[in-house]
Amino acid sequence: MRTRSRAMTTLFASIAAVAVLAGCSAGQPAPAEQNTSDAPESDGAFTLYSGRNEALIQPLIDQFEQETGIEVEVRYGNTAEMGALLLEEGDRTPAQVFLSQDAGALGALAKADMFMTLPDDIADAVPAGFTSTDGSWVGVTGRARVVVYDSEKLAASDIPDTVDALVEPEWASRLGVAPTNASFQSFVTAYRVLEGDAAADEWVAALSENDPQIFENNNAILTAVNDGALDAGLINHYYWYQLAAEVGVDNMRAQLAYPKAGDPGSIVNVTGAGVLQNGASDADALEFVRYLVSQQAQQYFVEQTFEYPLLPGVDAPEGLPALESLINPELDLSDLESLADTQALLSKYSLL
């Protein structure tokens, strides 16, 4: 028995040793210390959680680092994971800034009171409808909702300019949607706000009876259309440009059609950023968010990611309808109560 217990002791000693070794070798992200003074201070570095892809965001961050000398430690993940991670971390988070792919995640963090209120010069830089209503986060770029279609099977003129026509029987089994995706839910919310709950209920009912093809995200719909497996789908415009950059514009079988101005199918989803409470005293964090809505960064998004700039005076990417024609009236895409109603509607018809 003595030897057995010695073996066990050795076992636990080795676990402890591994634990200590691993703990020591790892970078220790101590939660940012709160400054006692009110004025934000700069220590030349901050941590960013990015729900947006490294390939598209890192060049902009490099540019920011070069110009300001501020070091940005970036943790990449998808928006859902980063949002859930921040909610789980709460006020112990090592992050000072969150960059999100959609407004819903920003709304969830704002509701959990995790964001500081942004100074007016940042909060007011972006017109209403494309940013938060209370200054908890700021819109950075816009992505138009579009119909993507298979150009070998359909002509541009075959694509209706309203989403109402897309739930007609002739589109049965031919339309792809991603009901669990934030971008689709924003669109349904827009439908509810613009046309009323009764009309939205009818639309969702018609969609669900029309045997829609269910996908997990925008990219999957786009790929299916581009490969000829699906006739049409509802996505955000910008995924098309990513794929076109990869395979060549001329090789794109999938093409985009824009619903007419004022149609609920023509709204714009926004990406955005907020400063977390423990970044409130960090001048570097604010500096970065201010940079995101600067002329220079907005121009970067126009040229590199083909997204809509939200700063007035910066032109939309060439070939896209003007942002003004897609205006988001009366919409607060980060309004979670409204989002919950949308989800109730989608689950009523078993789409969620």
């Binding site: 028995m1 030897t3 057995r4 073996a7 066990m8 076992l11 080795s14 591994v18 691993a22 703990g23 070798s25 790892a26 970078g27 220790q28 992200p29 939660p31 892809n53 490294e54 390939a55 430690e73 943790r75 990449y76 993940g77 998808n78 859902a80 994971e81 949002g83 859930a84 991670l85 909610l87 789980e88 090592p94 819903g104 995640a105 669990t180 995706n181 934030a182 093809q213 269910i214 996908f215 997990e216 990219n219 999957a220 299916a224 490969d227 497996a229 995924y239 990513q242 794929l243 950059a245 990869e246 395979v247 060549g248 090789n251 979670l336 989002l339 919950a340 989800q343 689950s347 078993s350």
Partner: protein, 514 residues
């Protein structure tokens, strides 16, 4: 000679062993406790309302249908493959052996992706079933072949001479020799198919993991996610219970292998089709698909070599250290449950398996919750990440180590003790040595899983650490299929190292036969 496993007269395990096993298993309780907290914190009303939604039932039924069908298919195909590989002489044996282990190296999301290149319309139950089955078959094939390798064909021959047909003699004499190994493998398959998300999301089959992901991604509803994940835990407990019922009392026989039969020519093609079905579906077709995507990419981005090298290094390092750590946690549980079947031991084993049925994102978030509350100094450190691998992949090592230890005849240990060995020395000299191949199998299975893991790695890694899986994810999410290709290729190559080792464990031992 037949003996029952378990030191007959001693039904109560030694306290230290039980304590160590209980401590190890408690790692798997962390996610369950976390889920319980999240599920009821917003009130039991919401918990019940979520649970009773018809959608939850629909998702659960889909999960059950997928897990049951994949497990059943893997059981049949795996046992058949193992029988062909271990009881017959086949041409190019070494190559076939190696190929049969290779599906382990391919992440299920890559298999689904590769198939979609060829047939973009694939979706729903059957494609998901086919992909998961192909990926999971080696979990049954490998341990069953290992068990047959060490078991005697005597009884089957006796049964045949006593007038039983080949099928009846298989079930009365041959099958019992591998039942334990086959069921342990099936258990892993069942739990894995419950927790799988990558392939089912690409193939658009809506299971509970789909629902869990949707709860996080669009609703930011952690309560709903927790309720769905608890349903998964309940299903996992049923699977663990069912396996234990089916396993019953393990029976071991002293090995005296027979020479293998020569496969008649007319059966050869059929035999090869059975053995190679899984590798073709899960390796050949997807790899060709990835190749097609690579060559159709217009903008091949320059490979950032230092970064690529660091991802390879991180993947290898995490897999080696992680799988050893998994072993440290799995061994006490395996040693306990191999010899003792009291209620406590059974409970400890059941708990140890739970982590395998939960999606990585759930385990990751539970460790964020636990880590920040209990060991904040270790947050976002390698330690936390390695610990997540233990929770997720400990079950892969428990089963095979347990069956290896159980197969060591107690008589041999008695001999060693009579010769004056202390219990620890006889464990080291007899049990550990004889069970070493099985223990190694568990370790290698864990290493492969660690290499392919994505969601928990994204959540818990130190910010500067990139693995091949995270790099692959970054690039495919941005539609950079050309840029993703070197990482996909490297992941397949690196993960096939342990897969090849797995197949050589078997073949080395087999060479002893002739």
């Amino acid at each position: 000679m037949t003996t029952t496993a378990g030191v007959g007269e001693r039904t109560r395990p030694p306290l230290l062993l039980a304590a160590a096993a209980a401590l190890a298993a408690s790692a798997s309780l962390i996610p369950v406790v976390y889920l319980a907290v999240r599920a009821v914190e917003a009130g039991t009303e919401g918990f019940v309302a979520t649970l009773l939604r018809p959608r939850v039932l629909e998702l659960a039924l889909n999960s059950v249908a997928l897990a049951a069908s994949v497990t059943a298919t893997c059981l049949v195909l795996g046992v058949a493959s193992a029988w062909l590989l271990s009881r017959w002489r086949l041409p190019a044996e070494r190559t076939i052996l190696l190929l049969s282990a290779l599906p382990l190296a391919v992440p299920s999301y890559l298999v689904a992706y590769g198939w979609l290149v060829w047939s973009p319309g694939l979706n729903g139950f059957w494609p998901s079933w086919a992909v998961l089955t192909a990926v999971c078959v080696p979990y049954v094939t490998l341990p069953v072949a290992a068990a047959w390798r060490g078991s005697s064909g005597d009884l089957e021959a006796v049964a045949r001479t006593l007038g039983r047909g080949p099928i009846r003699s298989f079930f009365s004499a041959t099958w019992p020799q591998v039942r334990g190994a086959a069921l342990a493998g099936s258990l892993l398959v069942g739990l894995y198919s419950l927790a799988e998300f990558g392939a089912v999301s690409m193939l658009r089959f809506e299971t509970l993991t789909w629902g869990i992901n949707a709860s996080y991604s669009a609703s930011f509803d952690r309560q709903q996610a927790a309720v769905l994940a608890l349903v998964l835990v309940a299903l996992a407990l049923i699977v663990v219970w069912a396996e234990r019922r089916a396993r019953g009392q393990a029976v071991t026989r002293v090995a005296r292998p027979l020479p293998r039969g020569v496969m008649p020519r007319r059966w050869l093609w059929a035999a090869l089709a059975v053995v190679l079905a899984a590798p073709v579906v899960s390796v050949t077709v997807p790899v060709l698909g990835l190749g097609v995507r690579l060559f159709s990419a217009e903008s091949i981005r320059a490979l950032d070599l230092p970064r690529f090298a660091s991802a390879v290094g991180a993947t290898l390092g995490l897999a080696v250290v992680g799988s050893l750590l998994v072993l440290v946690f799995a061994l006490p549980i395996a040693a306990l449950t191999a010899r003792y079947r009291d209620r406590l031991s059974r409970g400890i084993e059941g708990i140890g398996y739970l982590g395998h049925a939960l999606p990585g994102i759930v385990v990751g978030l539970s460790l964020v919750f636990f880590g920040l509350a209990v060991v904040p100094w270790a947050y976002q450190s390698l330690l936390m990440l390695l610990f997540a691998y233990v929770v997720l992949f400990m079950p892969r090592a428990i089963g095979s180590a347990r069956s290896g230890i159980a197969a060591v005849a107690p008589a041999l240990i008695d001999v060693s003790r009579t010769l004056g060995d202390t219990p620890a020395a006889s464990w080291r000299r007899v049990t550990a040595r004889l069970a070493a191949p099985n223990i190694a199998i568990g370790c290698l299975l864990a290493a492969i899983a660690i290499m392919k893991e994505l969601p928990a790695t994204l959540l818990l890694r130190p910010t500067s650490v990139h693995t091949l899986a995270t790099e692959l994810w970054t690039r495919t999410a941005a539609a950079e299929y050309g840029g993703a290709a070197p990482y996909a290729a490297a992941l397949l190559l690196v993960a096939s190292v342990p897969a090849v080792l797995l197949s050589t464990i078997r073949s080395t031992a087999r060479e002893d036969e002739s």
